[in-house]
Symmetry: C2
Subunit: 321 residues, 2 copies
């Protein structure tokens, strides 16, 4: 069994120390600790330096002194992300250097998340995924969905409690108080002959790009049933066996992409025009050519996506890619 | 590779026909169609008949005529569940019979979901999971979390839109308008020696029962990382490889339980007292004895739970259970 590599956005370099979230004193001490590192987000975009010539960007890091005025502002949302698992050897001159650089040219909050969030190292991508998902939740869920009242941020940014003392949400434990994660199935559908796969494109895709079908898991559904339902809805193809391969957090805003291989039991395609512009069976060799960059007839999504990894995984199982 | 059976709550007997949710005319015609079947819920409990001697219950089914007064009430929430995949041979006398029975003694809305929702056939359990999860969402999310305004039910019960015309939630597509599904990891942790598994108990469990550890997937996390984090948080045990086995919708209120086997790379146990009362390594033979009902030293959760299925799966892989 060949396993695809760890997913972009999926690496955990921080220990979340969730037990500390309820320890106000500990959090407060850490807040002004000179070793504490801050990342800044504006409109759900992290402040970065770059891109460098190779297109990569790096998160800007700040110390308490540099952000303490921001922390006073009412509109600022503070989230405790965790502590580094491996302490990086960071001399104080490094920190000063980073600070200086951040205050200078070439730092920005990039504007196109779908593209710009794919330029980080694997280490930084994991932190960005966590931070952005939690911040997106705060930006969309600042009112209590149970009573419409205002809420207050608690537990290091991992909880919002209703400020209306009579609210039902305060009796017992309810998901309304916790960040939302939306599970999504994303699947590479294999032709019954084993030698073709089904890929589709949405109107908003870059020209020539085809990708895996995907859809939100609905209430009361298993992963496997969601795969069958979404594939049939979007392409008209019926699916039999489904196998989980790997998953990826996708912080736009807070999805969990659950990647599967699915074996088709019918082949006629009838696309749902509302969602899909075109769907086609692609012969294995044509897919291999796309990866190799030889005789390219279509493009696959970038390597940072689980769609790319699923397609590559299928190819790798029986070829030498 | 041995696969565990289809999960209770996971069977889809209905075709959800999600494309019809936006077709108001179609939905309205179906609403008064004499063949349409209605289920009734009160406080998230379905109306059932039974339990019979064997402890099983059956959903009460109603026709339009019997519920049309309810449909007029403002407080009634109507959800379109789907159409039956296999048309059941139902003569009109069957329907009359059902209706009569429902009006009579022995029908009720059971009060203890954790126990009472486990008494259905597999076919009915799947429908109950779907209906209860969507209804729970309506009962907790009737206000817009983005602005605190009121919302209106749309798309056959699968969407709530903010009634405040200036609300940000109306620009673009946002998860605030759609039912929430919370992904949870549930895992059987295997000792490095391969011959023991880690089970724990919460204070609220029935006396003597031990089960798999479980926890909510957090924003920015993969299934595999969530398994590692939750196991370490709850038991102090460190986990290496993780393998997905199967999943289960758990409509209390709307979780998706993602079941995994996980191999421990450390063995010392240190429980998180806030959540877990006790955790222990159980030798394989002791677990087999519990399933067989011979020399029982602890009990496992009921067969309808994915925890039960994961434990049975592990036992089955190397024994003849
Ligand atoms: N949690 C959610 N977030 C965003 N859109 C959702 C969600 N759940 C259902 N939808 C709907 O699903 C559509 C995308 O289709 P799909 O991804 O194939 O399920 C969106 O345009 C929404 O209408
Ligand atoms: N979506 C959610 N629904 C309910 N509780 C949650 C949720 N997310 C986090 N929690 C918290 O997680 C606790 C249960 O721990 P665990 O299931 O081990 O993650 C609850 O008591 C809540 O404090
Ligand atoms: Mg889709
Ligand atoms: Mg969908
Ligand atoms: Mg879809
Ligand atoms: Mg737990
Ligand atoms: Mg947890
Ligand atoms: Mg936990
Ligand atoms: Zn409230
Ligand atoms: Zn609103």
């Amino acid at each position: 069994d060949l396993h695809p590599p760890e997913s972009y956005f999926g690496r955990e370099t921080l220990n979340r120390l969730s037990a500390k979230r309820t320890d106000r004193v500990w959090l407060e001490v850490k807040q002004s600790d000179p070793d504490t590192v801050y990342l800044l987000f504006s409109n759900l975009s992290p402040m970065v330096s770059g891109p460098k010539e190779d297109g990569s960007t790096k998160l800007c890091r700040f110390r308490y002194e540099a952000v303490k005025d921001l922390l006073q502002k009412l509109a600022t949302v503070l989230v405790f992300l965790g502590v580094e698992r491996r302490k990086k050897p960071s001399s104080s001159s490094d920190a000063a250097e980073l600070l200086k650089r951040c205050g200078e040219k070439n730092c920005c909050f990039p504007k196109t998340p779908n593209r710009d969030l794919l330029r980080f190292s694997e280490d930084e991508a994991g932190v960005v995924a966590q931070a952005r998902s939690v911040l997106a939740w705060h930006s969309r869920y600042s009112f209590c969905p149970t009573c419409g009242g205002s809420t207050a941020l608690e537990e290091g940014g991992y909880k919002r409690s209703c400020l209306n003392p009579g609210c039902r949400s305060l009796k017992g434990v309810h998901n309304t108080c916790y960040p939302r994660v939306d599970p999504v199935v994303i699947m590479l559908v294999i032709h019954p002959d084993g030698n073709q796969c089904l890929l589709g494109r949405k109107k908003m895709f870059p020209v020539g790009m085809f990708s895996c079908l995907a859809g939100f898991i609905e209430p009361g559904e298993t992963v496997e049933e969601a795969v069958r339902r979404e594939v049939e809805e979007e392409s008209g193809v019926k699916v039999g066996p489904v196998r989980y391969v790997s998953c990826q957090p996708w912080p736009m805003p807070s999805n969990l992409m659950i990647g599967c291989l699915a074996v088709a039991v019918s082949t006629a395609i009838k696309v749902d025009d509302d969602e899909i512009e075109e769907a086609r069976w692609f012969p294995r060799q044509q897919v291999i050519d796309s990866f190799r960059g030889t005789r390219v007839t279509f493009t696959v999504p970038p390597r940072q996506t689980i769609a790319h990894q699923l397609i590559r995984h299928w190819i790798a199982v029986n070829s030498n890619l």
